[in-house]
């Protein structure tokens, strides 16, 4: 029996080594340890590689954890106010020559619109992933204030969501699950598809964009307030 176990371990080892080897040799010189394995969504993978290739990651960090004096894109208000590159795009093209920092943000005047769209897509994706983790793990968000949550709901959510619908959804989850659902509604977490009916589903695309923008700008306290308010609607 020990002999069979050893063979099994050896077999698994060979398979794992083959997978690792295939990954490492798939693209000679490709820095898989830094850039990471290919993502499921090739469009996002391309955006990520564009972000690396133009040197953004060198200062701003691959996952927006800034190095040195570079702007913290994870928490930048400017990035949080961007819609489809309307703020980031012009800034990339002109740079920030007037600054108190040692190295001004360079100008990337030769970028195409498509390249800027790629960079913007990655910045927002990475920011949403990072903010989700940050808010989910926040320990100092407080107990929450229902009145403040109600005011936030009416201002930011009420234009799309009826109170009764949200009350019904809130009943299905405990506080932690509700928090995750507020930050990243599962209904909007679809795998990438190029089927025409998905591509032309403008309503879902708009909802995804809206929730993405909210996720990028939520504070821990705002989410805590929303949870208390929504749970009180039961």
């Amino acid at each position: 029996m020990p002999h069979r176990q050893n063979l099994y371990v050896l077999f698994c080892g060979v398979i794992l080594a083959a997978i690792a080897s295939a990954q490492a040799t798939a693209r000679p010189g490709y820095d898989i340890n830094y850039i990471g394995p290919p993502m499921a969504d090739p469009v996002m993978q391309h955006s990520k590689e564009t972000y690396v290739l133009f040197g953004c990651s060198y200062c701003h960090g691959l996952y927006l954890v800034a190095r040195g004096e570079a702007t913290d894109l994870m928490h930048s208000r400017l990035v949080g106010s961007d819609e489809n590159g309307n703020v980031i795009g012009p800034l990339l093209r002109r740079g920030i020559p007037q600054t108190a920092k040692l190295s001004p943000m360079p100008q990337f005047s030769d970028l195409s619109d498509a390249q800027i769209a790629d960079l913007v897509r990655w910045i927002h994706y990475a920011r949403q992933q990072g903010r989700f983790k940050e808010v989910m793990e926040a320990k100092d968000a407080g107990a929450g204030n229902a009145a403040a949550g109600k005011a936030y709901f009416e201002q930011k959510c009420g234009t799309c969501h009826a109170t009764a619908d949200v009350a019904r959804i809130a009943k299905k989850y405990d506080a932690a699950a509700l928090k995750a659902q507020i930050l990243k509604p599962r209904a909007l977490e679809a795998s990438p598809s190029w089927r025409l009916e998905r591509l032309k589903d403008a309503k879902t695309a708009a909802a995804r964009q809206r929730h993405g923008a909210l996720l990028e700008n939520y504070s821990g306290a705002e989410v805590a307030n929303l949870i208390v308010y929504l749970q009180g609607m039961k």
């Binding site: 850039i35 590689e49 040197g55 990651s57 060198y58 600054t99 108190a100 040692l102």
Partner: protein, 301 residues
């Protein structure tokens, strides 16, 4: 390194003290290529966190790239006291205390790590600033000296340089002024006038001309070297585009890399060419450094 009488005359005329001349004493090593001593600014290995725990990997990578000289950032050997529950002020104070009281033999042991693999630490890169006490600046020079470095270099401005001028001579070393491309800050080293102004503060100052930033600030690298080579101890060799443009792979920007290398070679200038890049790449740091180094070797072939 060949140090000619002509160079000596120029250096002397420029007012450099004998301490600063010590920079030229290093012996050529494995990355001395056709008259140019190459080294590395090791934050090029962007896939390797810069801390003292990773120093063995840094050394291994330098050897892999065939480099025998390095400008070592202090973070590769100084402890990092920052962490959860430690305020920035507390961490800074702990670092100051550590600098003033380093463990016995600490620097000697690190120097041996590099010596044993044939790597010379030419300079230590450390951003001396207002938070440094005088004793801390002295300790910084002593630490760098114990590592075998001839000088320190960092990203400080004119105000800090003015204060720093009295220190390197006390330790038989030099301090080097490193430029960026911030043309809007009157304190920054960014153009020829600001570097020349800084050099005048002390005979123990040299310039580390950052070719990438100087080019991005629309500076004339070749003209600068022609006029001030006697005060230039090193160049940070990389590529960028003009007009505050972006960093690029070697040969794709506006920096005259090939011309600079040939100037150094043909004039036998005792300045170190430190490879450096900030452009993006999907390749590993080792692969990218090798590409840059090979580009330079071809320029000197």
């Amino acid at each position: 390194m060949v140090f000619t009488r002509r160079d000596f005359g120029r250096l002397a005329l420029a007012g450099l003290s004998s301490n600063a001349l010590a920079q030229t004493a290093g012996k050529p090593n494995r990355s001395y290529i056709n008259g140019v001593q190459f080294g590395l600014q090791p934050f090029c290995y962007h896939d390797l966190a810069m801390n003292r725990e990773n120093r063995p990997i840094l050394i291994q990578r330098l050897v892999e790239n065939g480099l025998g000289m390095v400008e070592l950032h202090a973070v590769w050997y100084e402890p990092n006291f920052a962490g959860p529950g430690v305020s920035a002020e507390e961490a800074r104070e702990k670092l100051r205390n550590w600098r003033l009281n380093p463990p016995a033999g600490y620097f000697r042991d690190i120097k041996k790590e590099f010596d044993d693999t044939g790597i010379t630490i030419c300079t230590v890169y450390i951003n001396v600033g207002d938070s440094f006490t005088d004793a801390e600046i002295d300790a910084t020079f002593e630490g760098a000296k114990a590592l075998g470095a001839k000088g320190i270099v960092g990203s400080y401005g004119l105000a800090v340089a003015h204060r720093l001028g009295a220190f390197p001579g006390k330790h038989g070393m030099y301090a080097s002024l490193h430029n960026h491309d911030n043309l809007s800050d009157p304190d920054a080293f960014s153009n020829e006038a600001s570097i020349v102004k800084g050099l005048a503060y002390s005979p123990d100052f040299t310039a580390t001309l950052d070719v990438r930033h100087f080019t991005a600030g629309n500076g004339d690298c070749l003209g600068f070297l022609e006029r001030h080579h006697a005060r230039v101890s090193a160049v940070h060799l990389g590529d960028r585009r003009k007009n505050n443009g972006r960093s690029t792979p070697f040969g794709e920007g506006d920096a005259p890399i090939i011309e600079i290398l040939r100037l150094i070679r043909d004039n036998q200038w005792p300045m170190i060419a430190l490879l450096e890049f900030e452009h993006g790449t999907l390749r590993t740091g080792v692969d990218e450094v090798q590409l840059m180094f090979d580009y330079c070797k071809r320029a000197l072939a």
